[in-house]
Symmetry: C2
Subunit: 152 residues, 2 copies
């Protein structure tokens, strides 16, 4: 549970308040605030910053008696990503991780355990970014610090 920017969404408090914010946000992105989308948004954004796969979200939704199909979870996650509510992480091949913290930050990745942990903003920085090829600009700099268990 790291600190991020969704401070107002903590602990499930004032749900009516942020639910209506979310509703507006969805409308702005052309997404109708349906039952499933609102429920998934609650899962994703009311519990601090999270790094999840579609399967995990689906399992969690089912565990809360929420009826939603895996296809809808995938669709919704991608729609949220386009709407700027989520980021996609490329930490491991062959699995898409979605990050609910869209602020500029970096990650630890624990090999073997396949766990993603936020590195708090501004602690890490890059020096000597090389010149970018002609006609290109930097979209984002991603840093993944891969960790493994220390050999005692």
């Amino acid at each position: 549970m790291q600190n991020g920017q969704n401070t107002e969404l903590r602990n499930g408090q004032a749900p009516a308040c942020w639910a209506s914010r979310l509703r507006e946000r969805m409308r702005q992105s052309g997404l109708r605030p349906t039952r499933q989308r609102m429920h998934l948004a609650t899962l994703l954004f009311s519990r601090g910053d999270r790094h999840v796969t579609a399967e995990e979200v689906h399992a969690e939704a089912l565990g809360e008696n929420m009826s939603v199909s895996l296809a809808t979870v995938y669709n919704t996650l991608h729609q949220f990503t386009e709407a700027g509510l989520l980021r996609v992480l490329a930490v491991e091949s062959n699995k898409t991780y979605f990050d609910t913290n869209i602020s500029d930050h970096q990650h630890f990745f624990i090999e073997g355990r396949n766990e993603v942990i936020d590195i708090p903003d501004s602690m890490i920085s890059v020096q000597n970014l090389p010149e970018v090829p002609e006609g290109m600009e930097v979209a984002h700099v991603d840093i993944v610090v891969r960790l493994r268990p220390k050999k005692n």
Copy 2:
């Protein structure tokens, strides 16, 4: 074509020489230097540093009248990775890129075009690496600078 550490493997020159080195290297890793493995190794290591997918290697092999199955390409790429001859890159979800340059370096990734380009060693560096969780150590720090076409 960036510079890497496989300087002696350039331009297909002295093939007998580095082929025998490779043979030894394979034996050390418990891999028999079979026709397919030697041929794939030639593809991979005699043309400068490369970032390839299994499909690309397979297509290239077939294009050179080399008979090899996709399954063998996958197996071989993973065996080479375990032997320390290749690195796996996590730049894009759902596709495994293998890097023939195993030295410590970072990458540009051109979004949309799905192209990986080396950032030469030592030009880029990270500051203020945060404290690593208890019992863990850093295996590797991966930096991906994502590029997109500049809007004129």
